[in-house]
């Protein structure tokens, strides 16, 4: 158990020996670390509360997708997409995942603005137990936001007739969203600390966002795509989030071994998809951790 840092003696006559703080300097997962992480997270939620437009837009936008995009393809002959369900029902999983993904992709923007306005310097001159708290606060914030959005879409999905998975199914959906958001948030924060400014970050977000959507199974099933796009979509982490959620929505008798996707190299099970997402998040966190250590160390 680490203790909070002892306030340095204010009496300047006290002899302060170099290195005397070594033993009491708190590190990761100390009380001090939780205190600073909580305060930094609180700041983000206060911002959200005073400027809720991001959250409101973040809920309205996916609903628009669901309603407008769903209507656009409503009259497609049944079976054209290789499924016998309505397009609206098909689209739900895609919209859930895409919404969470976009939100996570934008996670780096507030950090970038903090860098540009010098607010980050305020954090860097403070004796933070670990600067990882800056990153963790953003991750907690974005993840919570994504789960709120997901809940809203799931609720509206019920009204639109997409049905509702059981509690365990919803738990898996939440887990999938969490894993995807964690990885993408990490990448976005990594970019926020690497790119020179917000213009560049927005450019990267812009060229990543829609192409990754189109190159996934969000809008059409894999079988409907030309072979080369099938390969691309099967390499896209978004597909590994979309397909299990879709399967859970459409099949009440789902299980870990259920085959949710037929990649060009073979069938992918629900459990396999989850493993891919765990791998993706772990890889993202690892690569970003090294980078952040260099930038913030």
């Amino acid at each position: 158990m680490t203790t909070t840092p002892v306030k340095p003696d204010l009496n300047p006559n006290a002899a302060v020996v170099d290195g005397a703080y070594e033993g009491i300097t708190p590190g990761l997962f100390s009380k001090a670390f939780f205190q600073e992480t909580f305060a930094l997270t609180r700041r983000l939620f206060i911002q959200l509360q005073r400027r809720p437009s991001t959250l409101v837009a973040g809920i309205i936008q996916p609903l628009m997708w669901l309603i407008l995009f769903g209507a656009l393809f409503k009259n497609v002959p049944a079976g054209l997409f290789g499924t016998d369900i309505g397009y609206g029902q098909f689209l739900g999983a895609g919209v859930i995942v895409f919404t969470a993904f976009s939100g996570a992709l934008n996670a780096g923007l507030p950090v970038m603005f903090d860098r540009e306005f010098g607010f980050l310097n305020r954090l860097l001159v403070a004796p933070l137990a670990s600067r990882f708290s800056i990153v963790l606060a953003s991750a907690i914030f974005i993840t919570t936001l994504s789960l709120i959005q997901t809940a809203a879409i799931v609720a509206v999905g019920v009204l639109l007739g997409a049905g509702l998975p059981g509690p365990l199914g919803l738990g898996v959906v939440a887990t999938i969203i969490f894993l995807l958001v964690l990885g993408v948030t990490a990448l976005s924060l990594g970019l926020a600390f690497t790119l020179p400014g917000h213009v560049e970050l927005i450019a990267v977000i812009f060229v990543t966002n829609l192409p990754l959507l189109f190159a996934s199974t969000a809008l059409v099933p894999l079988a409907f795509m030309p072979p080369w796009l099938q390969t691309v979509a099967s390499l896209n982490p978004l597909s590994y989030a979309i397909e299990p959620i879709r399967y859970i929505y459409l099949h009440s008798n789902w299980g870990v071994n259920s085959v949710v996707m037929h990649a060009p190299w073979g069938p992918v099970s629900l459990g396999g998809s989850l493993l891919v997402l765990v791998g993706f998040s772990a890889l993202a966190l690892l690569s970003v951790q090294r980078l952040l250590r260099r930038r913030l160390g």
Partner: protein, 341 residues
Amino acid sequence: MAMAPAVLVEQLQKRYGQVEAVKDISFQVQPGEIFGLLGPNGAGKTTTLRCLCTLVAADGGTLEVAGVSVNNNPKAVRQLLGYVAQEVALDKVLTGRELLQLQAALYHLPRQQGLEQIETMISLLGLVAWADKPTGTYSGGLRKRLDLAAGLLHQPTVLVLDEPTVGLDIESRRAIWTFLRQLREQGTTVLMTSHYLEEVDALADRVAIIDQGEVIAVGTPSELKDQVGGDRITLRLREFAPLAEAQKAQAMIQQLPFVQDVIINDAQGNSLNLVVTPQSDALINLQQALKAADLPTFGIAQSRPSLDDVYLAATGKTLLDAELAAAGQRDPKVERKQSMR
């Protein structure tokens, strides 16, 4: 046992690419004093502070705060320092109180102590009426006061101020000066930079004058002025004297026994700047000599040397000139990049 200086900077070096921001800066701040770093913009003052506050790594030299090495123990140094940057970065959505609460948590103050300290600082800096308003609605002076409150919240051993009154109106500047004097009376050590002569002159117990990344003089303002020696006289023949007339006067004045040096200041209507032996009847003698030579007198004033004269004696240019020269060479974009992490 010898007491460690509050701040020790020895042979500090820092370069940004091709630019040697700090070539060789050394000084010591003693506990309880206000120490000023004076110099034109671009002299390396801010870079020195940024190295001290662990924002950038120095390329060479020794930096210590109360005997703790910045290099070996940056976290402990951060706890010892309160840093108030030149450009106040506040989250404009947060209220002043919320910002201070964040700050208290970042310095790991226990909850109750943090809340008490926040109340103390809010009333001490006259922020009571503003504490619960978003900082986005604050004026420049208020922002600075809030930032001072944030910097002092954890009762740092040394308060580090970068250009504390730049861009502020006269009233806010006075308020901050008064506050800093109060702090000194309570024994807080302050290290501040400024390119305002009168600010350093009015506040600092000791000064290091910095030019182009090097310390050119250290001492109390009074010592430094004495070292330069001589009194200063500004003489204006007319509101705008013709150059020929000024030169004629210069040649004549040069011959007077109590005059050490005369230069023509063309930036101020060809007025004449004299260095004279102190405690002589310089003004009267000068006026008599001017009358005898049939030269007019529009205005005449005697003063002790200023810190600007100290700077002038060491560098051959005034602070203002250095400022203007530097302004043309600096690239604000590049500097913005340097300050980003």
